[in-house]
């Protein structure tokens, strides 16, 4: 309960910051009274607060779910402290404006994420956690070397000051490559995605939800900030590379998702595919595409968390998560299946849902600029997503060939309603896009994009 009250308090604080932002516009705060470049500054604009609110919403949902989930298991004593530490790191990351500070927050998030994955205790979880840890540390070190080069080249580690001082030089190119490479590893963009499915699928369910929804978005957010604010010129030069990798991620991830026989692995590969969409706007160079991208971040976070929680319910209920043996789950766990289907609607990009708005914005931007390839990839991705969602839904309605006569565990109501609430929010995002869009424009974070 203590953990839950901390979660609620954090969520309230995020909302308070949101209200302050609405009143005052973008906020800059000098910690210790020392402004940059001597001290560390915190910065909040529309994008940061949007991320904070997203973490608060998903975090609350998953916390409520976890309250009941862990009562049934043998008590893993570490969940709450680790999750709250991770949330601390996430909040610190979204508000930071200092690249070295960001390194420490990245480590905070990464280490807690690894420990959370390992909580499941079985060999898959442990080896998934180990692989995740090695990749995460490698990525952080690459990022840190980039920070080192930037500091020694320009004399500051503040994002705003760096952006003003940036000029092309061997050091800044090297730093760009290192930092982007490290962050792409952490965001699991193809071909750096190999660590994600084992880690996300074998983790305890609330952890999978948090990882897919929030942690990979944190490094993506950081990549965005660096791309726009520190290295604005790179947008035109290298955006196509990220977009291509994103397209490959969509295709590869969706195909792999279709081939999976276990539900959680399918959802994990779906994350790999959906993360590809986030990188398409890098190639489109239009603010509208970026609005779509950020909206995608939001709706995917909600939908994926809901989907993982629904899968967790199914796993608890039947004792397994083999897709072909989902014996009439739809009749036996109706709320859970509704949550799953609604989340699937958002992932597929069907109206009315947040996913639809996001894809619509991106497709429209692609077609306006006559970039047919990207539009085609996104449409194919949507079709493949529909395929793997319907695969699960189809089996959920049919009787299994082999009847498993194990007695089914009952699922507490909170565990069913939490995913439903998040999935419904994903749908609601599609109906009412004004508020998030208005928030996003505060402080004009997308100013670095040139059409």
């Amino acid at each position: 309960m203590l953990g839950l009250s901390a979660a609620i308090a954090t969520a309230i604080a995020s909302v308070a910051l949101y209200l302050q932002l609405l009143d005052n516009g973008p906020l800059r705060y000098a910690v210790g009274g020392w402004g940059a470049p001597l001290g560390i500054e915190l910065y909040a604009d529309g994008l940061s607060v949007l991320m904070l609110l997203m973490s608060a919403l998903v975090g609350l949902g998953v916390s409520l779910y976890a309250l009941r989930y862990f009562k049934h298991d043998a008590q893993p004593a570490g969940f709450w402290p680790l999750w709250l530490m991770m949330w601390t790191g996430l909040n610190a990351l979204f508000l930071a404006s200092d690249i070295f500070n960001l390194y420490v927050t990245l480590e905070l998030i990464g280490l807690s994420a690894v420990a959370l994955v390992a909580l499941a205790g079985n060999r898959h979880a442990l080896s998934g956690a180990m692989r995740y840890l090695l990749v995460s540390l490698l990525a952080s070190l690459c990022y840190l070397l980039g920070v080192v080069l930037l500091y020694h080249a320009f004399g500051t580690v503040d994002i705003q000051l760096l952006g003003m001082a940036m000029k092309a030089s061997p050091a800044s190119y090297a730093a760009l490559g290192l930092m982007v490479g490290g962050l792409l590893l952490k965001s699991a963009l193809f071909p750096f995605h190999f660590w994600l499915p084992p880690a996300h699928a074998s983790a305890p369910t609330p952890v999978s939800a948090l990882l897919s929804a929030l942690v990979v978005k944190a490094s993506f957010y950081l990549l965005l900030r660096l791309w726009f604010d520190v290295f604005p010129a790179a947008n035109v030069d290298f955006g196509w590379l990220l977009g291509t990798l994103g397209a490959l991620a969509i295709l590869w991830g969706s195909v792999q998702a279709l081939r999976q026989s276990r539900l959680k692995m399918l959802i994990a590969y779906s994350t790999v595919a959906q993360l590809g969409y986030l990188f398409i706007p890098f190639a489109l160079l239009s603010p509208q595409a970026w609005q779509g991208g950020i909206y995608f971040v939001l709706s995917h976070a909600l939908a994926k968390a809901a989907m993982f929680m629904a899968a967790g319910n199914i796993l608890k209920f039947s004792g397994h998560d083999r897709i072909t043996d989902l014996d009439r789950i739809a009749q036996r766990l109706p709320i859970t299946m509704t949550a799953f289907c609604l989340a699937g609607v958002s992932l597929m990009g069907l109206p009315p849902s947040g996913g639809f708005i996001a894809k619509w914005l991106m497709l429209d931007a692609a077609l306006t600029h006559q970039q047919w390839m990207w539009a085609l990839v996104m449409i194919v991705g949507g079709l493949l997503a529909a395929a793997y969602v319907f695969k699960v839904v189809g089996y959920a309605f049919t009787k299994a060939d082999v009847q498993d006569n194990k007695p089914a565990e009952s699922i507490p109501a909170l565990m069913e309603w939490a995913p439903l609430a998040l999935a419904v929010t994903a749908i609601l995002l599609g109906l009412n896009a004004n508020y998030p869009m208005a928030l996003l424009s505060i402080g004009n974070p997308l100013a670095g994009v040139s059409p």
């Binding site: 480590e107 079985n122 442990l126 180990m130 692989r131 840890l133 540390l137 490698l138 070190l141 080192v148």
Partner: protein, 103 residues
């Protein structure tokens, strides 16, 4: 070429050597050690370039202290995870582990 740049280049060398070790070796302990070497390389570059000017720049020193602490924490976690993995599976590398449970 001044002395500091030589040290910084040595740091780059350590970074690349560590990266090679991380990719090539299969045993997890060697991977962890390789990561530590990479970390030392980064810190060496950070400190060495901080001594370019006549008056030494204190900020890199502070950053390195922070970096070392973070790296130590991460290494500790990695080592304990390795021990648990060994206890649980008897293997100390990831590929053998994967092959084992695919059978």
């Amino acid at each position: 070429m001044s002395q500091e740049i030589l040290y910084a280049l040595a740091g780059v060398g350590l970074f690349v050597l560590g990266l090679h070790g991380l990719i090539v070796y299969a045993h997890l302990l060697r991977k962890i050690l390789a990561l530590n070497i990479m970390g030392s390389g980064v810190f060496l570059v950070l400190i060495a370039l901080g001594r370019r000017s006549a008056v030494a720049d204190p900020v890199p020193d502070a950053m390195v202290i922070t970096g070392i602490v973070v790296t130590v924490s991460a290494t500790a976690l990695a080592l304990v995870l390795l021990l648990r993995l060994k206890e649980m599976t008897g293997h100390t590398d990831l590929e053998q582990n994967d092959r084992h449970h695919e059978q």
